[in-house]
Amino acid sequence: MSVRSMAAGLRSLFRKERAEMELDEELTGFLEMAAEERMKEGMTRQEALRAARLEHGSLEVTKEVIRSATWESFIDTCWRDFRFGVRTLCKSPGFTAVAIITLGLGIGANAAIFSAVYAVLLKPIPFKDSDRLVFIEKQNQPRGWTRNPISPAEIVAWRSESGAFDDVAAYQEKSCVLTGVGEAEEDPCEVITSNLFPLLGAVPIRGRTFSTDEDQPGGPRVVILSYRLWQKRFTAEEKVIGRAINIDGDSYTVVGVMPSNLSHLYASPYGAVPELWVSGIALSPTTVWNDYFGIGRLKPGISLQQAESQMDAISARIEPMNPDLKGWRAQLMTLRRNTSGDTRPALFVLMVAVIFVLLIACANVANLLLARGARRANEFAVRNALGASQGRVVRQLLTESLVISIAGGVCGLLLATLGRKGLAVLAPQVLLRSAPDVAVAAADFRILAFTFLVAIVTTVLFGLAPALQNARPHVTETLKETGRSSLQSPRSRRLRSTLVVCEIALAFVLLIGAGLMIRTLAGLGHVNLGFNPTNVLTLRVPLSSERYREPQARAQFWEQAVSAVETLPNVESASVSRGLPISGWDGQFFTTADDPNPPAGQVPDANYVVVGPNYFRTMQISLRGGRTFNDHDTNASERVVIVNEELARLYWSGQNVLGKMLQIGGAGPWRTIVGVAGNVLSQGPDAGFHSEMYIPYQQFPWLMDGPKHLVVRTSGNVRPETLVRSVVQEIHRIDKDQPVADIATMEQIALEPLAQQHMVMALLASFAGLALILSALGIYSVLSYSIAQQTREIGLRMALGAQQGNVLRLVIGGCARLAAIGIAVGLTAALTLTQLMKVLLFGVRPTDPFTFTAVIALLAVTSILACYIPARRAMRVDPIEALRCE
């Protein structure tokens, strides 16, 4: 369409009356001139006008022909259809309300889940050319280890030798104790390379980022603050730049403040959000300490695979230089993917689920429209008789459907806003971390566009079939039947039955999904973790200040703290440990005296846990043999270790391990195994067992930084939360400046890995419930309608001697047939579709027979109930009444 035609069209659209008048005048003039011509031949004026009209068509028809040739007339008709649709719908408020709410639920669920999917998976992270940013980790395929932190040796080699990157930055996660600014506090922090922020394209709001000369361990000690920390601890004062603050006992100069929207979007969503970034990262090409993460900016046009294979070549070259590098290769993923965590499958399953809900809603509304169309058959027949084409009627009906779905869309947006608030409550930490705006119920224009698009698609989905069906011209039959209820054509009945079958099938699949999640969580709830998480309070005491530099000082602190806490009322026992099961332990290599020189790349490893004597009693970890630690295990006594059953099975299968020797970390003292502990599901109920070695904390030196966690078991049934105050008080009595962090019950920690499954289960169960209700309504409405249609037939049958029981059987039989077909279709679909949610399941197969049987029973009972009410109505048909009313 040209601009000129557009302008002319818009002119006549907005100045319709004037355009109309001009056209009228022009045409009248035309006809009069034609008449005058004829009058010259001797006709009377009347005859001449009639002849002209005969030749050129009537004025109104001609005007219509001219008008309808323009594009704006299309819009005009749409608008008229729209207003007509609104009027028609207002006349049947019941139907309209049900249709709008049904669609609103479907569209709302879609908008809410889409907004989560968008925020977590699709929205680009706010960094410069973020699609070129990759997260660098490593994997060891021969040993089955993936997503491992990387070492300085690898960072240095990859950075200097790989041609795939513009630049590579690295960071190390740790925690820092900030003193000298109010109360001592421990904050998550990161040691970063100076190029990290420039590489991301993140600019500080105050001051600067690090310079390259600050990149050395011995260089100037400088720090960058997070926006949150700046606001909270420094009251957002401008003079903070240049100020010296104390971190872990050393003085650092503040050089910058990062903006708040930087949050932490480059790192894994499972780690802590850093509040401080400090300089002085030690990247030596000979260090193989795996404690770093890399972020690279790919050169334009380089793919992830290309970069990975280049890095693998470099890894293969440096591998012989250090046995610890054996078998390790780069593992890359886009930064976006890394920050989404493992939420992908859950969101995918939920997206499929809401699409199903929407389809069921559409089927229901389509059914309502069909029933309504049958009642309006007269209206359509009259229009048809007056010259409306079938297409014209279809267009009118589709416009009506559009009105419904737009109203449904608005209703859906409101529901989605509520839904997003609910989502924020249900969402696991990971989801909130990777997309903080999941919880923000603001209407993004993309969400609006998506909702609108869904509404349009919906219109076609539920409106087209009924419109085509209803607009079929049977003028004579329908008009002949005026006054009687019009008969339902077999075609229309088939269509409605098909819709009901689809609804049941979709509801079936959703119910199976929800059932499998419920079974998974029920199963996980009963898994024996190997320790008892109830009534245990845990808290972290970092001990990172100057006075705890020496291990003796730390050990002394813990001795005091544990004995103080153990004397508190309601405390059954207390102990210390380095790390907690489920929230994470670190691994260490070890060698056994039986196999002191394993080949590189096959050195055994196990979780390394430094614990106090009462640890096993406090956590209620069973002892399978030997003894636990006691106060006689000191620096002066024999070095001892307790291993778990898994380690014993792997390295001394079938032998008595007590008295065997092992050495941890490739150096240091040999330790004698004095006890065997029961296995602990240390990485969550859905992960397997790992080898574990427990070291008494009184025996130095520790590898890594010693115990940090206090675990306290309450006596009786005292809630562990109630002890927090008194325990913290005891710690502050020993050291008033000592910060206490991460206060949680062991039960909370044990539930965290299942948070995502809980969310999926809660949402799937709601969607499945909704689907069940909607399809029951669908069955009910179809059956009520078809019974109303069959009143005469039923009356006739009863007049001819059919009993109430026969009628009931007839109706229920028809209904059971629909349900059976629906269930059969749903079963077939579910068998393949549940494979998609395999990752979310634990302890149940996607084809779990129990779930399938239960869902079949549930749907069968619901369907029979839904048709029982209309069936009873059919049973009570009075033959005389029924036959008379026709």
Partner: protein, 110 residues
Amino acid sequence: MTTTPSDLVQGTLDMLILKTLALQPMHGYGITMRLEQVSNGVFRVNAGSLFVALQRLERAGLIKSEWKATENSRRAKYYTLTQRGRKRLDSEEKEWERQVAAIARILEAS
């Protein structure tokens, strides 16, 4: 003998209107009369087709219109060929001649 304009190819009517207006500005009825006279009554354009075509040509910028008094002192909308219209007419005439010549050659050959 009458041929209804609907028998014509769409473009043909447009070309004939443009040709008619090339002589002088005319109102709608004038165009019909002129077409009828010149074609010796072969083309009788009815009002509907004529005004649809005029509307189309005007929106394409090939003609423009203005209200003027007729010789019988009636108000009528007069259509004038624009510069663009003149160019279009030229090219359409050439194309038409080419096609007619081609058709003639085919007819003669058989």
